[in-house]
């Protein structure tokens, strides 16, 4: 198995593609406004004609590069390249302003490597164990698991829970367009043959993640970054004592990132903030945080990259995405004709090990590229937006067309960009919508299969313990945030 995996991964073509993808990922991660979601979505159509191994390697390499590259803009201009680097800004930018740019960049680079590499090793160990248990799950449990994944993401909708739930309902509605499972009843197709197979996943993703971003950045004038100089960047700049002082911080942040990445929907965007606040509360010198403390950079970057391994575990072992990027990659697997789920480990073991191998190799490539190319980072932020966004718009059209060789998809993509705008205007979060859209098919299939097997008795979901636990967690994840303000108001009234 290992030999076959290495034979695939060490082919010059595969290594070259991985290297190119890592570089592309770093560029997308580094530039504010561009995300690894967008990079993976843009490149997805390019992988259609590749072998599934090469295709998934490409997407994984972009994921690793993109996740790591986010700290570059956070350090140099104080703007997070991706949401996963928000906490990095708090200390990396002040460090950079103090003239210690190299130290901040090196901490980000090495922290990212530690997070990705070791979380992948843990994923390699845990995936087969979880998949073994998951094979024994029936449609009842799968329905519960998918429902739980969606509601956990919904529960993160800060502000208004109803909006998170409404976004998930829209995702379910979009997933039900086209022929229904089992009986092929046409739903919401309105005699348009191009959507009889369902809303095209690539068009939806390109429209909502890429084209929308290009248009809204133009409309709202978000295209300027401050100039940065590379004169202060040389060497590594971290002392041995600083390394020693950060061992506990790194381990704690790593475990936080891994766990949060594992939970559906709670990816690197949250883990960096949690790890940062934990690091600050556990620190002997919390007053230095926010003023250029290297510990804060390590905490944020180790945790957000550790979420990669955490998110890959449910993606491979259960077929449930851990975050939006893994959701896109899961759809990439489906497009390649591979059915994600616990049987993936037994049906496609080489592909699974190719995924792990790619993550490890990409982490090493990212480390080398970032350590040796540190002086080039300011140049990445100087790429003119009009060229970049112009190219992205054109590539989106090519991507949308090439999925089905049908220009209808390009129109659908533009429609999806308008849809994304309306969602933003209504304050509806994109995460629950996308996850519900991707998991909608599985959710419906398992629901109907369960009901048929139970001869129409819905109580079967509650009489099976694992399914009951999943559904209970689903319910609580929705009810608790809804009741929290009511309970706190009642408590305040009692005290007052």
């Amino acid at each position: 198995m290992i030999q076959s995996t290495l034979q695939i991964l060490l082919q010059p073509t595969c290594l070259a593609v991985m290297l190119g993808s890592v570089i592309l990922g770093i560029i997308f991660g580094a530039i504010p406004g561009l995300t690894s979601n967008m990079a993976v979505t843009l490149i997805l159509p390019l992988t259609f004609k590749m072998t599934s191994n090469l295709g998934i390697s490409t997407l994984m390499s972009i994921y690793v590069g993109g996740m790591s590259g986010g700290f570059i803009a956070a350090t140099l201009v104080g703007i997070p390249g991706t949401p996963s680097s928000i906490a990095t800004c708090f200390d990396a930018y002040p460090l950079s302003q103090k003239g210690q740019t190299t130290k901040a960049l090196a901490a980000g680079t090495i922290g990212s490597f530690i997070g990705t590499f070791f979380s992948t090793l843990i994923a390699i160990f845990f995936c087969p164990l979880i998949a073994k248990v998951a094979v024994k799950l029936g449609p009842w449990e799968y329905f519960g698991l998918c429902a739980m994944a969606i509601t956990l993401v919904v529960s993160l909708s800060k502000g208004n829970m109803f909006k998170g739930l409404a976004a998930a309902c829209i995702g379910l509605l979009l997933s039900s367009v086209g022929y229904a499972p089992f009986d092929a009843t046409a739903r919401f197709t309105f005699h348009i043959t191009s959507i009889s197979g369902g809303i095209n996943m690539v068009a939806l993703m390109l429209g909502t993640f890429a084209i929308y971003q290009v248009i809204i950045n133009y409309a709202t004038d978000q295209q300027k970054l401050p100039d940065v100089s590379n004169s202060k960047i040389s060497g590594i700049g971290i002392t041995l004592q600083e390394w020693k002082d950060n061992i506990a911080n790194i381990i704690r942040s790593f475990l936080i990132g891994l766990w949060i990445g594992f939970l559906p929907g709670m990816g690197a965007g949250i883990s960096n903030l949690v790890a940062y606040s934990q690091s600050k509360s556990a620190s002997k010198h919390p007053e230095e945080y926010g003023k250029g403390c290297i510990d804060g950079v390590f905490a944020s970057e180790v945790s957000n990259n550790a979420s990669i391994g955490g998110a890959v575990i449910p993606m491979i072992a259960l077929g449930i995405p851990g975050d939006t990027v893994t959701a896109i990659m899961l759809s990439g697997l489906m497009i390649h004709g591979i059915e994600p789920g616990p049987l993936l480990m037994t049906k496609e073991p080489i592909l699974v090990y190719v995924i792990f191998g790619t993550l490890l190799i990409s982490a090493v490539m990212t480390l080398i590229l970032q350590l040796t190319g540190m002086r080039l980072f300011p140049k990445l932020l100087m790429i003119p937006y009009h060229y970049l966004f112009g190219a992205i718009a054109i590539i989106c059209f090519v991507g949308a067309y090439s999925d089905t060789n049908n220009l209808f998809n390009c129109g659908l993509m533009l429609g999806c960009a308008v849809f994304a705008l309306l969602m933003q205007m209504a304050g509806l979060p994109m995460g629950p919508m996308m996850l519900a859209f991707i998991l909608g098919g599985q959710l419906e299939t398992n629901l109907r299969r369960s009901m048929m097997m139970a001869k129409g008795n819905p109580m079967v979901f509650l009489t099976r313990p694992i399914s009951c636990i999943f559904l209970l967690i689903s319910l609580l994840s929705i009810v608790i945030p809804l009741l929290k303000p009511v309970l706190s108001k009642a408590k305040n009234a009692k005290e007052g």
Binding site: F48, K49, H386, G427
Partner: protein, 158 residues
Amino acid sequence: MKNKISSDKTAGLVLVLIGVLVAIVTSSLKITMKLSPGDPGPRLFPYIAGIGLIICGAGVLFSKEHDKKMLILNKDQWLKFLFLLVVLACYQICLKIFGFLVSTPIMSCILVYILKKQDKVKKLSVVLFSVILTCVIYIAFVKLLSIILPVGLIFGGE
């Protein structure tokens, strides 16, 4: 503040209306096949989505908390959004009629000029960028990956 609250109410109302519409369309779905007696049928899932939208829309409508994260565009921003959308829609039409190789270099130039706003760009750089972008995409998709790109009606494409 008033703007955000009224947008919240509008969003809630629209969600309720979409939910009602979904429920009506779902009830009129023609079911041609009846599977086993326990099967809830193809209407169940859209009903869940539709009823969910009605409940959530009502929740948003009657909620006292207002959402601070809502995006609000002013008239100028709306016009810019629609303008770029129309330009991109024109690119789709051009792809259909003239194909990828003719439409893309022209549209790349147009897009750079639109997106540059007040920045200065050299004409030669824009032309070079457009030609290189078109060639790179064409070589990567058509030559390396054998993926077909639009040929254009005037060149005999479909």
